[in-house]
């Protein structure tokens, strides 16, 4: 198969301008997983090329092969028309490929300068290279308007700045081709826009940019060409100007998907959850949630938006009863259930609070358990699961099967190990476990993190169905699209404080983005009005 591919490409290769990157027949397996199936890809010089696909479609694997992090089982890599044998990062760097990883590859206690020169120090003794590096760094910063203080400690910088250091690192190594893997996951919309402006500058300077993302908005806004991957295969190449988000999402999933969630008006009733002046500190005494006050009523979804790490995780954990509260009060239907004061997660569950934690693998399930074991976690004391002092595995199997069919968990096999389900199916199982208990209040964090588009649609519908059944829902998500399409009211958190509230009707990305960066809501709305 890949041999014929080679010939086809070989025969068709006549153009005068060689593509910056050409991949032919790249194939890669990890054990049973066929991560890349005979991938072909051409990236033109001086363009921004997007690669979209769902989580697990093989985008990151493909780029890791290009950057020498993994070796392909078959296939060839051509850079500027020359066949390259990329065995490690050093080979990729040598042919002018730079990569900005999803999880930054930075040494946090080091200065910016030290991070940039790591690996290309220019001599066994640092001082020899450092002065030259500082000069070069200044030049790069000027040329691409990337302002960073070279002597700042990287760990103290914001994520947006850390990302710029990653870009500087690549440029410093003479990268002509820059690969960015999910670069906007940790950025506010404004920071993301800034990043795209930087990429545009890079393009004007003749650099080639490969942008990997699952966010269609970014593809449409920033790229010239786009390639779509699905389940390890390259399914389509398009010019961005000639395609649409609808077409791309259909290509990604393999069927039509609703990008916009259809839901009716909320009908909020009595207050279910009331949070008053809540403060949460970490064990190191760092205050992560600062005087948060809000309420959630039956029949409404309240969303908490914010850049990851601004206290929303701690808030959710506190409300779920797994993190003690230092100050303040939590009322559930008027009764005091402040966590840490005699109330724990188990007690909250009994009182009708269901909690879907943000981190599925760390807190929501044990991946080495079977599905039926995972499906009773937290409810294993329930009478229906008992037979004397033993667990009633028959009843558990039946209950799990019911959950799995109700929530479309595939495959419907209660004995399969939880780790062997895809992210979306794991999440559906967790949601089934919590929602089918018919709770009064659903606390849900990052419900669709690492979940494919098809499952996202399903999960969103179930959350809206909870609301329509008259339950209260508190949603924490860093995905603004998710918050805006699900929530009826949106609270924005920044640096542990709730900056303000926006109704779903008046919410838009700019206002929320400004608030996420700490701008007062009135100013944010005014800025939006004048813009």
């Amino acid at each position: 198969m890949s041999d014929t591919m080679h010939q086809m490409h070989g025969a068709g290769e006549t153009g005068a301008v060689q593509p910056a990157i050409e991949l032919r027949g790249i194939d890669k397996r990890f054990g049973a997983v066929h991560a890349n199936k005979s991938i072909d890809l051409k990236v033109e010089k001086g363009t921004i090329h997007g690669i979209v696909g769902e989580n697990g479609a093989g985008k990151s694997t493909l780029m890791s092969i290009l950057y020498g992090f993994y070796q392909a089982d078959a296939g060839t890599i051509h850079v500027d028309g020359r066949l390259c044998d990329i065995k490690g990062s050093e080979d990729a760097i040598a042919v002018g490929i730079g990569m900005v990883h999803q999880h930054f590859m930075l040494v946090e206690p080091f200065t910016v300068l030290e991070n940039v020169i790591l690996g290309v120090e220019g001599g066994a003794i640092l001082r020899e290279g450092v002065d030259k590096a500082r000069e070069e760094l200044r030049r790069l910063e000027r040329e691409y308007s990337l302002d960073v203080n070279p002597d700042a400690i990287v760990g103290d910088l914001s994520v947006g700045l850390q990302q710029r250091i990653e870009i500087l690192k690549a440029l410093y190594r003479g990268a002509e081709i820059l690969i960015l893997d999910e670069p906007t996951g940790v950025l506010t919309p404004q920071e993301a826009d800034h990043l795209f402006r930087i990429l545009e500058t890079l393009k004007q300077q003749g650099k080639t940019v490969v942008l990997i993302t699952h966010k269609l908005r970014e593809i449409m806004a920033a790229t010239d060409n786009v390639s779509v991957m699905r389940q390890g295969e390259m399914v389509a190449h398009r010019k961005t100007a000639e395609t649409s988000p609808e077409e791309l999402s259909e290509l990604m999933v393999g069927r039509k998907v609703l990008l916009r969630l259809e839901k009716g008006e909320a009908a909020p009733a009595a207050t279910v959850l009331e949070v008053d002046n809540l403060c949460v500190e970490t064990s190191q005494g760092v205050r992560k949630v600062k005087n948060a006050s809000f309420s959630v009523r039956a029949g409404e979804i309240v969303g908490i938006a914010g850049v990851s790490g601004n206290g929303q995780s701690e808030l959710l954990e506190a409300l779920g009863g797994i993190r003690a509260v230092t100050e303040g009060q939590v009322l559930l239907n008027g009764l005091d259930v402040t966590p840490g004061r005699g109330v724990d997660a188990a007690e909250l569950r009994k009182r009708g609070v269901a909690h879907v934690p943000e981190d599925r693998h760390r807190m929501a399930m044990v991946t080495s358990f079977s599905a039926k074991e995972a499906a009773i976690l937290g409810y294993e004391d329930d009478a229906t699961y008992q037979k004397g002092i033993f667990l009633n595995w028959h009843a558990i199997s039946d209950a799990t099967e019911h959950m799995m069919s109700e929530f479309d968990v595939r495959p419907n096999d209660p004995d399969l190990k939880a780790a062997n389900f895809s992210g979306g199916n794991q999440q559906k199982l967790v949601l089934a476990r919590e929602i089918m208990r018919d709770p009064e209040l659903l606390l849900v964090g990052q419900p669709t993190r690492g979940v494919d588009i098809g499952a996202i649609e399903f999960i969103h519908k179930r959350i809206v169905a909870m609301r329509d059944a008259g339950k209260a829902v508190l949603l924490v998500s860093v995905e603004l699209d998710e918050i805006m399409s699900l929530a009826d009211r949106i609270l924005v958190m920044c640096d542990g404080s709730i900056i303000g509230e926006v109704s779903a009707a008046e919410a838009n990305e700019r206002v929320l983005g400004l608030m996420m960066a700490g701008v007062d809501p009135h100013e944010a709305k005014a800025a939006e009005g004048s813009a």
């Binding site: 490690g88 990062s89 050093e90 590859m105 080091f110 991070n115 290309v120 066994a124 003794i125 640092l126």
Partner: protein, 323 residues
């Protein structure tokens, strides 16, 4: 004997007792800064001490003994590296295994070779490191205060003492002023960053544990061929662990670790001095209590005072490329 003389003697003893700690603490620092926990310092020190004494006895030259000690500890550190770096094993378990192995093996080989109950035969004058008189020490010996500080405190130690104290600035320079040091520190913090920069993580970590081996080998040789005159069974008596504690106390940095070693060395020296001394109001301090003091202090310091020391981020974590 006046008080000044007493202080000089005490400090003089401090220098001698802290020397093996300093070398071992620096050894631990090189290994741990690169991300490999080195609990094996104790066993390596023991192995080094045995090799040095045995070889020096046969050859009659302490320098050859020193080389043998370093050779032994490099081999042991490569073994530790093979378990921890290549095979991604548990670093604590590997370290403890080496300690137990060396405790038994040195005794076994000692009995087999010399049949003196695990001891090595006493070394004669020429097979040990001898005190060095610094230039002009005798001439200034009569100058009050400064003269005796120079001639009695600073002069008259063996070469390894001076090496240990010079090793501290040298280690600092290597760690913070060279390419090797930059990469070594980086690999202990975020090996992914080193890998993506095109540098081999495994090779870097091996080099670091080998540096560790060289330093701890010197510390072992010091015990048996400089401070002492033979190898005694389990003669390290926890010095490897104390050095490790000093390194943690010094937050994985050379100079703070030096001060921690001097503190522990001082307590050790003071413990020896205190034996049989009758303190006013307290009476004679039990020997055992005084001897236990350095260990008690270790526990107290580690438990209470350095709670906020941040170890290298990837310490103890083998490098696995994530999927």
């Amino acid at each position: 004997m006046d008080n000044f003389e007493l202080v000089i003697l005490l400090l003089d003893a401090t220098l001698r007792t802290s020397t093996p700690l300093i070398l071992a603490a620096l050894a631990g620092m090189f290994s741990e800064r690169s991300g490999t926990i080195n609990l094996a310092l104790e066993g390596m020190m023991l192995g080094g001490a045995f090799s040095a004494a045995a070889v020096a006895y046969y050859v009659g030259n302490p320098w050859i003994g020193l080389l043998a000690a370093i050779g032994t500890t490099i081999c042991l550190s490569l073994l530790h590296g093979f378990a921890c770096i290549t095979h991604k094993g548990n670093q604590v378990v590997s370290g403890m295994a080496i300690n137990i192995l060396m405790s038994g093996l040195t005794a076994l080989v000692g009995i087999a070779l010399f049949a003196q109950g695990g001891k090595t035969p006493s070394l004669d004058h020429g097979s040990r490191f001898q005190p060095i008189t610094l230039p002009g020490a005798d001439a200034v010996a009569d100058v009050p205060v400064l003269g005796s500080i120079y001639s009695e405190l600073l002069s008259g130690h063996n070469i390894l003492v001076y090496v240990a104290f010079l090793a501290v600035p040298a280690a600092w320079w290597v760690m913070y002023r060279t390419r090797f040091g930059l990469r070594l520190r980086a690999v202990g913090e975020n090996p992914g960053a080193v890998d993506t920069a095109g540098i081999g993580v495994v090779a870097m970590r091996y080099r670091a544990v080998m540096c560790s081996g060289v330093l701890v080998g010197m510390s072992g040789a010091y015990l048996s061929t400089a401070q002492g005159a033979s190898f005694l069974q389990d003669m390290t008596a926890g010095k490897g662990y104390i050095a490790l504690a000093a390194m943690v106390f010094g937050k994985w940095r050379p100079f703070p670790a030096l001060f921690a070693c001097l503190l522990f060395g001082f307590l050790d020296a003071a413990a020896t001095r205190m034996q049989g001394v009758i303190l006013p109001g307290i009476g004679e301090v039990p020997v055992q209590l005084v001897q236990a003091l350095p260990y008690v202090l270790t526990v107290v310091l580690l438990a209470g005072f350095i709670g906020r020391a941040t170890p290298p981020k990837s310490l103890g974590r083998p490098y696995v490329k994530e999927r």
